[in-house]
Amino acid sequence: MPASPYALEINDLTVAYRNTPVLWDIDLRVPSGVLMGIIGPNGAGKTTLIKAALGLIPRAAGDVRFFGLPLRQARARIGYVPQRNSIDWDFPTTALDVAMMGLYGKLGWLRRPDRAARQAALAALEQVGMAHLAERQIGQLSGGQQQRVFLARALVQNADLYFMDEPFAAVDAVTERAIVNLLGALRKQGKTVIVVHHDLQTVAEYFDWVTLLNVEVIASGATSEVFTEENIRRTYGGRIGALPAGLNGSPEASAYVA
């Protein structure tokens, strides 16, 4: 296996929808072991970037490597948490069942999840504080609880590189805490986590690496270096809600409301 310092390496990625580029000539290198936030305004292509990297939508051009390998050879090392509203939560299944789906890819044909799979799923639910609701039908869970079930499913995948699409979107405080703790735990194990994020206020607190995206990559690197007022302005144009407090910018810029 060729050793690569990068968990994710994207070269010249372009994605177009009906002749309009949604992502334009993306070059991105994400070192192994970082917690990276992808931020950018609505329509910047954050979700598209993840989906194109994972081969879920066709790309017009570009090459994506995971730990130096093409997707096909790296699948077993990749975990994925889709957007919560991408599926029908009325589906007849339980939280435990969903968590076990994280093992389906590795089980192989004709094999059913056994007791060990059940234990792994329960342990993952425990880790996100959902073990007591394991037998609950997923439609009866709150939005935050559903999000935690999705995270448990990703944990069961036991991956080295995780992609999470807006896990913090519209969740309660308990869930937000649970996710933050989980990110910390994954980091400690040396995993790489890439998170689509929408809240500028918490970027510096949650992530040590950040990519600012608006169709093109505006900046990417250590949060302390690239998460600057100037880069945020360039990413969002005039559409910033409120700049995060504590950025070394002028006070009036910090209070700026679009």
Binding site: K51, L54, G55, L56, R75, A76, I78, Y80, P82, S86, I87, D88, F91, P92, T93, T94, D97, V98, M101, Y104, G105, K106, L107, W109, L110, R112, P113, E135, Q137, R153, Q157
Partner: protein
């Protein structure tokens, strides 16, 4: 297994028992299960069970109306096969599958390459194919051909046409499709619940999708002669919709949908065979929709009455 799961499984067992008891009950009421009626009832029940299996996935994948497009689009295929090969059962089936499948491909092509939305694409394809089918059928009707009788039964379905060979075909289809669903159970489940996640995990979603769609096509085509092209979709989705209301797991839903389907198909076929000229499709669908109505009203948690009671209790507490 959680207590709630156990309760649902017990309920499913009770439903199975009731439906099995309906056979001796109908005998006591004077229904004579002679050679013909036995075949008719068996065929209807097997078809219903098939529909329960395929319908569970069609409903959960949001593809309920695909079955409608498919069965309407199958009509010209039936007519063309008759014109070319005469009343050859296998030829009629293949003809139905050919134009039905073509209709589905056309819907997919229209909604992916033009600005047409999927519902509009289905409406247009369904109407176009059905119109051609009806025109061909009228043309065949007008010909002086003695063997033409019965082709128009495809529109509303005709159980009396069931013979031993049909029962064998339906039984074989049940075994085959049941075995495929068992073999690829976890793959089909994940594909239906979260296709993106399935793909990231390396499941070959393309051909799994194709396989599942093919199963739905096969069930619809086999059912055409009994349920009729117009109401086939009802038998496909009604048992699954009714079953969904009572259950909280896919495993429970598909078993209950098969039971509901078998009961609807069997009793509909028996009812239609009691009197000459009664169409099978509408009677099967009437029974199935009755089950849906009962489920929508009385199912715990999801049922209308349950929710009314819940609301009243809440108001009482306030």
């Amino acid at each position: 297994m959680s207590p709630e799961d156990r309760r649902v499984w017990r309920f499913i067992g009770a439903v199975a028992l009731c439906m099995a008891l309906s056979v001796p009950l109908s005998m006591a009421l004077g229904v004579q299960y002679d050679y013909t009626l036995t075949h008719v009832a068996l065929g209807g029940a097997l078809l219903g069970a098939l529909c329960g299996m395929a319908g569970t996935f069609a409903v959960l994948r949001g593809q309920s109306l695909i079955g409608d497009t498919l069965s309407h689009a199958a009509l010209p295929g039936v007519a063309l096969a008759f014109l070319l090969f005469g009343r050859e059962p296998l030829a009629l089936l293949l003809g139905a599958a050919a134009t039905g499948g073509l209709g589905i491909l056309l819907v997919n092509w229209l909604s992916s390459t033009t600005r047409l939305k999927q519902d509009a694409a289905m409406g247009i394809v369904l109407a176009a194919f059905f119109a051609i089918g009806v025109a061909l059928l009228s043309y065949i009707q007008g010909r002086a051909d003695a063997r033409q009788a019965g082709l128009d039964k495809f529109i509303f379905g005709q159980a009396a046409a069931i013979i031993a060979r049909d029962v064998v075909i339906l039984g074989a289809a049940c075994l085959l499709i049941g075995a495929l669903l068992l073999a690829f159970w976890k793959e089909f489940k994940l594909l239906t619940f979260d296709p993106d996640f399935a793909r990231v995990n390396g499941l070959p979603t393309g051909w799994l999708n194709g396989l599942l769609s093919t199963l739905i096509v096969i069930v619809c085509v086999i059912g055409l002669q009994l349920a009729g092209v117009i109401l086939m979709v009802g038998l496909l989705i009604a048992p699954a919709v009714a079953a969904r209301q009572w259950t909280r797991r896919l495993e429970q839903m598909i078993v209950l949908a098969m039971l509901f389907g078998a009961f609807s198909g069997g009793s509909g076929a028996v009812l239609s065979a009691l009197e000459r000229g009664l169409p099978t499709g509408p009677l099967m669908i009437a029974v199935a929709c009755g089950l849906v109505l009962v489920a929508l009203l009385f199912a715990p948690q999801r049922g209308v009455l349950w929710q009314l009671r819940q609301r009243r209790r809440l108001r009482g507490e306030v």
